[in-house]
Symmetry: C2
Subunit: 210 residues, 2 copies
DNA sequence: TCGGTTACATACTCTCGGTATGGAAGTGAG
DNA sequence: CTCACTTCCATACCGAGAGTATGTAACCGA
């Protein structure tokens, strides 16, 4: 065992714990997963877990934030590859739906998150990640005149709720990959309805108008 | 103690348990509420609770179904008072948002429900209550040509997700009653975007076009 | 009235979140 | 290097609460 610095020890242990927690929380759910099991999967014991995390919910919160970082990074990357604000928005929604095919994401973020952390905390975290990206996209679309005016954050939040439902719906479908276009089309319709009117033939303009 | 029939005993006890569970689950959340506390609040003991319900989740499920019946009945009543399918739909959405001001409803149905019962079970129950009413409303609007064609159930589910978010958003606002119109307007925009196009000046037609 | 079933209370077990304590690993000053 | 000090982590323990076993009282059907 080579000599390790304290921060290295802490980083390794917490990383192992979060990784193990992500695995178990994501597979079995928060309630059905014990701290002992997480610690064992991470190669340590309960003592280590409670040294680095105040309680079970705090460990879960770390996993939740981890998931938020993953999805928001993926969304930003997908949106950045698009030529204009509107297609970036559509692309982001599609990417979100695809991401919902990950069972761990669904269990941790969509199912357990609100119940364990509370709605307030969940949205506070999401406002710095997923919701931030979505709000920026909607704000850009509004600024470009591609979408009707309004509060971007409120609109993002409603859209986010619809997307979460769509993602769950998709994931439970018999053939998720096959069902994606249909569900995505319905989601795009929702976006299209708040598109700027009149729906002229703007280049790259909102769909659903023809 | 007058002589009671068995079904009467059962009905009274289960009703008392469900009422107490609704109170405590709604106030403190599922995880923070013990079976003993529920039983005591219902005037019985744990033995009675486990005699009538297989486990804690089954008791919660009864509360969840109870809430579903309440909201769906209220929605149907509100929609029935409207003259046409489109205004009935709008009225229903507004009524749903108002209903979200009830903390018990939010805690049981929106926060704990999915985590405790699982998404599958929750949506299965809702398909027979809230989602059924919403789907019928959307189906009627489509049939009346007030809304673009599509799968009513899928559209209802997305709309439902957006409404749940809107309801939480509303409830956490400083002045919920005051914020209701703004949030409701944004929700109506979402509906308006899937409205039938072209948006001619149909009598009682969809808003958001002016 | 009486055997059998249902409704409920009491007493118990056992899992699991959280704490207390002891020791090993790292740190910083002299 | 060394030695007091802090940080990291393991082991042993505690208490709360979900679920069970068992006993008893209330109902039911004959």
């Amino acid at each position: 065992m080579p000599r390790r610095t304290q921060t290295e020890r802490t980083d390794r242990t917490t990383a192992a714990l979060v990784a193990a927690a992500r695995e178990l929380f994501g597979r079995d759910g928060y309630a059905a997963t014990g701290i002992d099991a997480v610690a064992a999967a991470g190669g340590v014991t309960k003592g280590a877990a409670y040294h680095h995390f105040q309680n079970k919910a705090a460990l879960f919160r770390a996993v939740f934030v981890h998931e938020q970082r993953r999805i928001s990074a993926r969304l930003e990357q997908a949106a950045a590859a698009e030529p204009d604000s509107w297609s970036a928005l559509l692309r982001g929604c599609l990417t979100f739906l695809e991401h919902c095919l990950d069972p761990t994401f669904r269990q941790v973020v969509l199912l357990d998150g609100p119940a364990v952390l509370g709605w307030e905390t969940v949205r506070e975290i999401e406002r710095e990640h997923t919701l931030r990206v979505l709000t920026a996209g909607i704000g850009a679309a509004i600024a470009d005149g591609r979408m009707a005016g309004g509060d971007p954050l409120v609109r993002a939040q409603l859209m986010f709720g619809a997307l979460c439902e769509a993602g769950m719906l998709l994931a439970r479908a018999g053939d998720p990959a096959g069902a994606l276009p249909a569900v995505a089309a319905e989601a795009a319709r929702l976006l299209g309805s708040v598109a700027a009117e009149p729906p002229e033939n703007r280049p790259g303009g909102p769909p659903g108008s023809g």
